[in-house]
């Protein structure tokens, strides 16, 4: 078990890309506390896998250090870092039995045979694999194979951190749910740090205690699911998490107050006005926009009934606003007034939060 610290990490895949300023990971400092369940969330190509491979030692970062419990492991090979990794596509050794697959990492480390047997059976029990220990690994279904690759990580008694790189991609939908709850259960049982990479917000929010959101090679926010929802640090987080995503409305400052097309707004807290020339945006989640008798006058464009509530698409001047309206509330036919909940109205300057 260990705390993992990424100290001023930067990475680029080639010298040419580096000269062009094209970094796969821009400078970041991140600390992963011992025993946490983390999700690493972001769209494809944002650098999640790169970050994961740096932690596991499959990649050596161009700059910066990786610390496990304050010990520098930047140049330490993967097999000495006490980490385990489960890949997007199941990796099993086809010619071996399930038992041999699970025993493989232990045999490579020279553990005595009786200890191995004990460990393998223990892990097989945890993963419900006892029945197929004698079978060839190649004959298993995709979820069985993913369990084996997970088992090869868990079987080692010294694992600091287990990493999952979109492990449910090839799993049937009805098994995804089962496997995910199994992971959660294992996390409680084993107590190792787990880092779960995904581009699916539902997967991330259900698995993790803390979610690390990445965007274009930058960690934009680390927080609990509630924090990400209520106070997104960056417009990307607001937009990416939540369904529908956060409303972002262009605004300017008049007498120190954010104003949308002449309409002044209250925001969550006082702020120091930014330099001129930055792009200012008001961010508010559709859940915190209310229909009202006064306030912003908008045109109703469309109403979508999604079951327990309705999503209303409205328009103020040229800007689109979405709001979530409970089932029983009446919606005016074409024109309405709306109010923003000031406690959840945030101001963003060049995409980063001001308040």
């Amino acid at each position: 078990m260990a705390k993992i610290t990424l100290d001023k990490i930067r990475h680029s895949y080639s010298a040419e890309l580096m000269r062009a300023g094209d970094w796969a990971l821009k400078e970041m400092d991140v600390t992963w506390s011992d025993g946490g369940a983390y999700a690493l969330l972001g769209p494809s190509g944002c650098g999640k896998t790169t970050l994961l491979n740096i932690i596991s030692g499959l990649l050596i970062p161009t700059e910066g250090r990786v610390l496990f419990d304050d010990v520098d492991v930047t140049d330490l090979p993967s097999d000495q870092r006490h980490i385990a990794q489960v890949f997007q596509f199941p990796v099993v050794y086809d010619t071996m039995t399930v038992y041999d697959n699970l025993a493989f990492p232990l045999r490579n480390r020279g553990m005595p045979a009786d200890k191995i047997r004990e460990r393998v059976h223990e892990i097989a029990q945890m993963l419900d694999l006892q029945g197929s220990l004698k079978r060839r690994a190649s004959g298993l279904t995709a979820d069985g194979k993913q369990k084996i690759s997970l088992g090869r990580g868990l079987v080692r008694p010294d694992v600091n951190v287990i990493m999952f790189d979109e492990p449910l991609t090839v799993i049937d939908p009805h098994l995804k749910w089962l496997l995910r709850s199994k992971l959660k259960e294992l996390h409680q049982q084993v107590g190792a740090t787990m880092i779960y990479v995904t581009h699916d917000q539902t997967e991330a929010l259900t698995f993790a205690d803390k979610v690390v959101v990445m965007h274009e090679g930058v960690v934009v926010q680390i927080g609990t699911p509630v924090e990400l929802f209520e106070r997104p640090n960056h417009t990307f987080v607001g937009h990416f998490i939540g369904s529908p995503g956060m409303n972002l409305l262009a605004c300017d400052l008049r007498e120190g107050k954010p104003t949308i097309d002449g309409h002044p707004l209250e925001v969550s807290a006082p702020f120091t006005p930014p330099d001129t020339g930055v792009q200012l945006q008001i961010g508010i989640r559709p859940e915190f926009v209310k229909l009202s008798r006064e306030g912003l006058a908008v045109d109703i464009v469309k109403v979508n009934d999604v079951g327990r509530y309705r999503i209303v698409e409205a328009r103020y001047q040229r800007q689109a606003i979405k709001l979530v309206v409970p089932e029983d509330e009446a919606i005016p036919a074409d024109r309405a007034h709306i109010l923003f909940d000031p406690a959840h109205t945030h101001l963003y300057a060049d995409h980063w939060i001001l308040t």
Partner: protein, 288 residues
């Protein structure tokens, strides 16, 4: 494989192939069968001979000797070319400009007409004017493949290794390229040794292409004719007279059509049976 629809009209699609191959395979095969049971003294006069030619071939020492030479040759070149080809594929670069350069240069021997291969090696290995011959003699070893059977064997095998190892390399390389990076990463995390990576990841993933490579090399080396014929003419003496060379000597040299036809059939049958046994063994191994 299992989700194919049953449709007997698909026969229309294979008809052209069947007609073309049947014309090329069945009619000549029938000619051979016809000759193999008859005796002729020219002028298209034939006498029924039954299985006499088959008995004669099967009991002839000459045939036994050719077959033994053929088996030794095929065995030796398989033992050299398969491991060597795999080893070179393992050390080849995975990406970059050098991949194309390597592949193009390695494929070169495969596209040289077979008698040019023989002629090239003849010029290359001649003791007086050939680079190889000169080099070996320069080392103080008496080497002349036109006079010494051992030297002839050495040259023929070296030539075949030169000619065909690339086929194994290219097949093995294609197999290696299909292994996802995650396998190597998982192996690194599992602390696997270089040997274990080869034994448990690379070898199993190369199995299909290696089966093809071994089958192709087996069949083609068993039918080898042109290259050794041009290089050594089957000599010195009969020391490099492999089955095909012997067959052509009997059929076209001595015009003994009956024995030649019987030998042809036995020869073809040996290849079929050995290929079949080999193929079944590989497949059974796969299913386990």
């Amino acid at each position: 494989m299992s989700n194919k629809t049953i449709n007997n009209r698909a026969w229309w699609l294979v008809t052209p192939v069947v007609l073309l191959v049947a014309f090329n395979a069945l009619i000549p095969l029938m000619t051979v069968v016809n000759y193999s049971v008859q005796e002729t003294f020219g002028d298209n006069v034939f006498f029924w001979e039954g299985v006499r030619w088959f008995e004669e071939v099967l009991h002839s020492e000459r045939f036994h000797a050719s077959l033994l030479r053929q088996l030794s040759f095929t065995g030796i070149i398989l033992l050299i070319e398969i491991p060597l080809g795999v080893a070179i594929a393992l050390t080849m670069p995975k990406k970059g400009v050098w991949v194309s350069v390597c592949l193009v240069l390695m494929a070169l021997p495969l596209l040289i007409p077979w008698n040019v291969v023989g002629a090239m090696w003849n010029i290359f290995a001649l003791p007086e004017i050939g680079l190889l011959g000169k080099m070996i003699n320069g080392l103080g070893i008496d080497y002349n493949f036109t006079r010494q059977p051992l030297a002839a064997w050495f040259t023929t095998i070296l030539m075949d290794v030169w000619h065909w190892t690339s086929l194994v390399t290219l097949l093995a390389y294609a197999g290696l390229c299909s292994i996802p990076e995650a396998y190597y990463q998982a192996a690194r995390i599992d602390g696997a040794s270089r040997w274990a990576v080869f034994r448990f990841i690379q070898l199993p993933k190369m199995k299909r292409v290696l089966t093809i490579a071994i089958l192709l090399r087996f069949m083609d080396s068993f039918m080898i004719y042109t290259e050794p014929f041009v290089l050594t003419g089957g000599g010195p003496g009969n020391s490099t007279t492999f089955l095909s060379i012997d067959l052509v000597k009997i059929a076209l040299g001595q015009f003994d059509l009956g024995p030649a036809a019987a030998m042809s059939l036995i020869y073809f049958l040996i290849i079929l049976v050995l290929s079949w046994i080999f193929y079944t063994l590989m497949m059974r191994n796969e299913e386990q």
